[in-house]
């Protein structure tokens, strides 16, 4: 977005936008509190808009119930620091789990949730039945098996490790 970058440049030495971005990124995911929205890579851009700051946020799944809660939490967190924020929901380009940051992946793993596999050729290959190789977040074994294609939230599946025998959540690759 060239326009947004230009506006950033206009502000020059003012790092208010960077501060606001940090505040926004520190909002935890309400359904996955070990990571924040910065870790998920769903804050896409932000810009000054009059007295307010407009923050572009992308949903993870098209009907993820956390979407609205995250948007409100971001506006509230930024308002608590004395800035007016407006969240704009942006759908394109569609979010991919490849945007989860290395720090976010580490936090997921530490919480016992296997981070998503790299997306590879995604939908391009049309090999609908291909399975990603999922490593156990506890013992790193690749000898794992899917228990349930869907889990407690839209973004997770359930797996089991055949080495250490622990069940675990897998953050689905999208």
């Amino acid at each position: 977005m060239v326009a947004a970058r230009d506006i950033d440049r206009d502000i020059g030495g003012d790092d208010m936008l960077a501060d606001i971005r940090r505040i926004a990124e520190s909002v935890p995911d309400p359904e996955l509190v070990v990571v924040n929205v910065g870790d998920l890579g769903i804050i896409r851009d932000l810009r000054r808009d009059g007295h307010a700051v407009e923050i572009d946020v992308t949903p993870t799944y098209s009907a993820c119930p956390a979407t609205l809660a995250i948007e409100l939490a971001i506006e509230t967190a930024v308002a608590a620091q004395g800035h007016e924020a407006r969240v704009r929901r942006v759908l394109a380009p569609a979010w991919t789990t490849d945007w989860i940051t290395p720090a976010g992946r580490a936090k997921l793993k530490q919480a016992g949730i296997a981070p998503p596999s790299p997306r590879g050729d995604g939908n391009g290959g049309h090999d609908y039945f291909a399975r990603p190789q999922v490593a156990c977040p506890r013992c790193d074994s690749l000898d794992t098996t899917e228990l349930s294609a869907f889990g407690a939230t839209a973004c997770k599946a359930q797996y089991r490790c055949l080495s250490c025998h622990e069940p675990f959540d897998y953050f689905k690759c999208l």
């Binding site: 949903p59 799944y61 098209s62 009907a63 993820c64 119930p65 942006v90 759908l91 394109a92 380009p93 569609a94 979010w95 995604g122 939908n123 049309h126 609908y128 039945f129 228990l147 349930s148 294609a149 869907f150 889990g151 407690a152 839209a154 359930q158 689905k172 999208l174």
Partner: protein, 264 residues
Amino acid sequence: MTGRDELADDLAGDLADDLLALLLRIGDDHLILGHRLSEWCGHAPMLEEDLALPNMALDLIGTARMCYGYAAEIEGGGRGEDDYAFLRDGTDFRHMLMVERPNGDFAHTMLRQFLFAAWMHPLWDGLTGAPDARLADHAGKAVKEMAYHIRHSGEWVIRLGDGTAESARRMRAALDDLGPYIGEMFESDDTAARLVAAGLLPDPAAVRVAFDSTVARTFTMAQLPPLEISTGISGGRAGRHGEALGHLLAEMQFMQRAYPGLTW
């Protein structure tokens, strides 16, 4: 907002009407099928499927919400998402008949889900390049969700079709039952033809090629006979529905009909 977002404003009257019609067709397909899937909640044959079916329903209802929200803006008459879902009568719905069919058994539900996803996946894929940002942006998300639905439902089609004598019998019975409703996916009319010409709907022939390929590959693994699509039962796009829809709406719309304007 880019200029593409404002396409609806620039559309000549007819094309705006066609886009509105398209949004209701896609939106209604997703809402009604999403509602059917949600009926399984608490009744699925195993816990994993009790998670899977409402999760897939949620994806479908997410798409319905996008369609209705956008339709409301184009229509500009003050209606909102909920008005389309809960305050229209049966003859106003534009979904194809397959999605309103009662769930039947688990094999029937999974085969229907597989056929729907195998059709919608290439349709969304084609729409990712549509000259309408709202539709194209949503298509980019939905195409990923449909790929996952194909995987999940397709694996069940294979497992049951190539399973025990009883599971195979049920999968074949589901195919016999749903077969006559498949043709409606590929029907065209003046509205669809104008949408295709405007790039707002992929060429049905191209969608059909992708659908046939997904189905053929899966049916082979499932030991099911090759799918032959004939002209079957249709009328959904014109608002002619079966008895099943009335029962579905009576349940789905009950709350808004009994307590108008109720909100959470």
